[in-house]
């Protein structure tokens, strides 16, 4: 397959987009997360794969330590309305403005509520490789346009 073209717009010029991928809670369905990791890598991103059984706090700590541009969390257990806002909150408490993208099984009626809770993008099971890349890239750009460069951000 000819992979999608590498992202040209980088939050930090000269550095690939860095994305943290994690699952929150007990849910072990990591197929989607691992496929997304490969899509992002083939699309020119750097993936920090935190994997299973993360907490909102462990995700915030890893996001700070790895200085990522986007956090992607995957959920398949119907707990997204509780856990996704908690991830956003934990990042903000750590002084990070990192955008959050949610992937997995999210009923259409819940998408608006996730946006209200500060989630920038939601990817369902039918998302194509291009949609995954576009959503993550868009998420990264929302941050670039609204916040000072990373050097000026407080270190958590």
């Amino acid at each position: 397959m000819t992979g999608p073209a590498p992202l040209t717009a980088m939050p930090i010029p000269g550095r690939p987009l860095r994305v943290l991928l994690a699952k929150v809670g007990l849910d072990g369905h990591d197929r989607g997360l691992r496929v997304v990791a490969r899509i992002l890598r083939d699309g020119g991103c750097e993936v920090v794969f935190a994997g299973l059984r993360q907490t909102p706090e462990s995700i915030a700590a890893a996001a700070a330590q790895e200085d990522v541009d986007v956090v992607g969390v995957s959920m398949h257990n119907g707990a997204h309305l509780t856990l996704a806002p908690a991830v956003v909150q934990a990042l903000r408490h750590a002084g990070l403005d990192t955008p959050v993208v949610v992937g997995g099984i999210v009923p259409a009626v819940d998408v608006g509520r996730l946006h209200e809770a500060g989630v920038v993008g939601v990817l369902g099971p039918g998302a194509s490789n291009d949609e995954v890349l576009a959503t993550v890239k868009h998420a990264a750009l929302t941050r670039v346009s609204s916040t000072p460069p990373p050097a000026a951000r407080p270190s958590a």
Partner: protein, 551 residues
């Protein structure tokens, strides 16, 4: 290696006839709709026969003419009362096997009151904290006359102890208990990810349960070696078969290393495969599975009892093949997949409900799924003939190719373990190889869909018409509160001294690998020790497993 007409597999037709004549016969006409008589099996002289080595054509001489497969629908949600009611409904509508889904906290050995359980109690299965929940789950059902399947792995020994405890308390003899517990921990590290302890002590727990069942539960299948989850995680059919059988060999080696004789336990091992949508490849997979298992059990592990070499399996249609878009299409997918399982000679079958890409099934959707099996069994006529596709050039060729591809993977695992499949599988779990192989395959498949090389109807093709509302099952959030009350009440009325003694014994015996942990677990269950307390006691000795964070 060779097809069913290979001289090595030359069937003994006279012996087959004797076995066929001696087997029971269902009371239905074995003929086509036009009234043409149908033979129990077809093939040229000298062809391999069903019920004969190496069982490519099925483990029994008469297959479904004697007995249909067990229609075993997986169910479990909410509290034990809710699931008990669903069980009774399934038994009333003609199902003959119970299959239990536990919620995530139970599967991971956590109590409903554990902070990490919040939001998960009773959601994806029934919540079980203590044996009291199991008593309610099976109340009014005679454990001596049903066959129960319990899908649980890392907490399998503790849950099995509760089931035995319920049997003991209701006066059912242990030797009358019939069913299967999944108890397949290796695929958890490879695919499903519901592990607690590190792999080695976990394999000890599996082996303890195998030894206990061999001694006390002659009608119980103590391990269901499962490819289903490996496939759902994204593997190919070849990987599903290779990894599953390799895990099976690993359990066999662990039991032999524990001092058991292969023919004492191997006849009770069973398997669980996926039925995905690639119809002929799936059928070839089941046929190859039986042939490979037979050869390895005889040639490598010295099995002399024929039953040790006969692979028997449960099938479930592929959850990942279902779509949230135009969900009624799933009825067609499930019918095709179920038919593959039947033509492949499955011993039991779960058909997915059409609404499962959206939520847990409603009662109506679950009934339609069961009815799909009944259409195949009663109307289609495919059950009259054993291995009806045997001799098809395409299916025979696929079966042979499946076998040789699987042997290549075995050779790699065997080398990784210096001649031990158990060590090879453990080494490859520890270095993350299985996870990465499966994820690579999932990515290839996803890329094929993205590029339009494979059309998933309703997803990347034929997308018009996704406009109907599908009613979905609603799980009352009050379930969690009710379960917490039950747990608090049990903790109130149990004997605290007995709990302490049971937990002390468990910890002490866990530290001694020569002791079988089942008796201590049964004592703990009967004292209403919770699944979380049991897990913590074992974890304090065994440690906790963390996956290497590799994509």
């Amino acid at each position: 290696m060779g097809s069913v007409t290979d001289p090595e597999y030359g069937g003994d037709r006279e012996r087959w006839q004797r076995e066929y004549d001696a087997a029971p016969r269902r009371d239905v006409p074995f003929e086509t709709m036009s009234g043409m008589p149908v033979e129990p099996v077809y093939g040229p002289p000298g062809a391999e026969m069903p019920g004969q080595w190496p069982y490519t054509r099925g483990p029994y001489a008469s297959m479904y003419r004697s007995r249909l497969w067990t229609m075993r629908q997986f169910a479990g949600f909410g509290t034990a009362e809710d699931t008990n009611a669903r069980f009774k409904e399934l038994l009333r509508s003609g199902g003959n096997g119970l299959s239990t889904a536990f919620d995530m906290p139970t599967l991971l050995g956590r109590d409903s009151s554990d902070p990490l359980s919040k939001g998960e109690v009773g959601r994806a299965g029934v919540a079980v904290d203590t044996m009291a929940d199991m008593e309610v789950l099976f109340s009014g059902i005679d454990l001596g006359s049903v066959s129960t399947s319990m899908t649980v792995n890392s907490a399998a020994a503790a849950i099995m102890a509760m089931y035995v405890g319920v049997g003991d308390r209701t006066g059912v003899e242990r030797r009358a208990l019939s069913g299967t517990i999944q108890n397949d921990i290796l695929k958890e590290y490879q695919a499903q990810k519901e592990y607690i302890f590190p792999p080695r002590p976990s394999v000890r727990l599996v082996t303890d349960l195998v030894r206990f069942a061999t001694a006390e539960l002659p009608r119980w299948h103590p391990v269901s070696v499962s490819g289903y989850h490996i496939r759902e995680a994204g593997s190919t059919a070849v990987q599903e078969l290779a990894f599953t059988l390799a895990n099976g060999f690993a359990y066999v080696e662990a039991a032999i290393a524990d001092g058991m004789a292969v023919d004492d336990f191997a006849p009770r091992l069973s398997f669980f495969f996926n039925a995905h949508i690639d119809f002929f490849e799936e059928i070839a997979k089941y046929r190859a599975a039986r042939r490979i298992w037979a050869r390895w059990m005889r040639d490598r592990y010295g099995a002399a009892d024929g039953r040790s070499t006969q692979l028997r399996f449960h099938t479930q249609t592929a959850g990942v093949s279902l779509t949230a878009q135009q969900p009624e299409l799933n009825l067609a997918r499930v019918a095709i997949e179920a038919l593959a399982g039947v033509l492949g000679g499955t011993q039991s079958l779960h058909t997915d409900s059409y609404d499962e890409a959206l939520a847990l099934p409603t009662e109506r959707a679950a009934r339609l799924a069961l009815r799909t099996q009944q259409v195949i069994a009663e109307e289609s006529g495919v059950v009259h003939v054993a291995d009806p596709l045997g001799g098809s050039w395409y299916v025979e060729s696929l079966t042979d190719e499946m076998e040789s591809s699987v042997e290549e993977i075995f050779a790699q695992l065997d080398a990784a373990g210096d001649g031990s499949m158990l060590e090879g599988v453990l080494a490859r779990i520890e270095d993350g190889w299985f996870c990465s192989e499966i994820a690579d395959a999932a990515y290839r498949f996803q890329s094929d869909i993205a590029a339009g090389r494979w059309i998933h109807v309703g997803v990347n093709g034929y997308t018009e018409g996704d406009d109907a509302e599908t009613p979905t099952l609603y799980i009352d959030p009050a379930v969690e509160a009710r379960q917490l009350e039950t747990l608090a009440e049990i903790k109130q009325r149990r004997d605290d001294d007995a709990v302490r003694r049971s937990l002390d014994r468990l910890q002490r015996e866990a530290a001694d690998p020569t002791v079988n942990l089942m008796p201590a677990l049964i004592e703990a269950a009967a004292s209403y020790v919770t699944v979380g307390e049991t897990t913590q006691a074992l974890e304090s000795v065994f440690g906790t497993w963390y996956e290497r964070p590799l994509a």
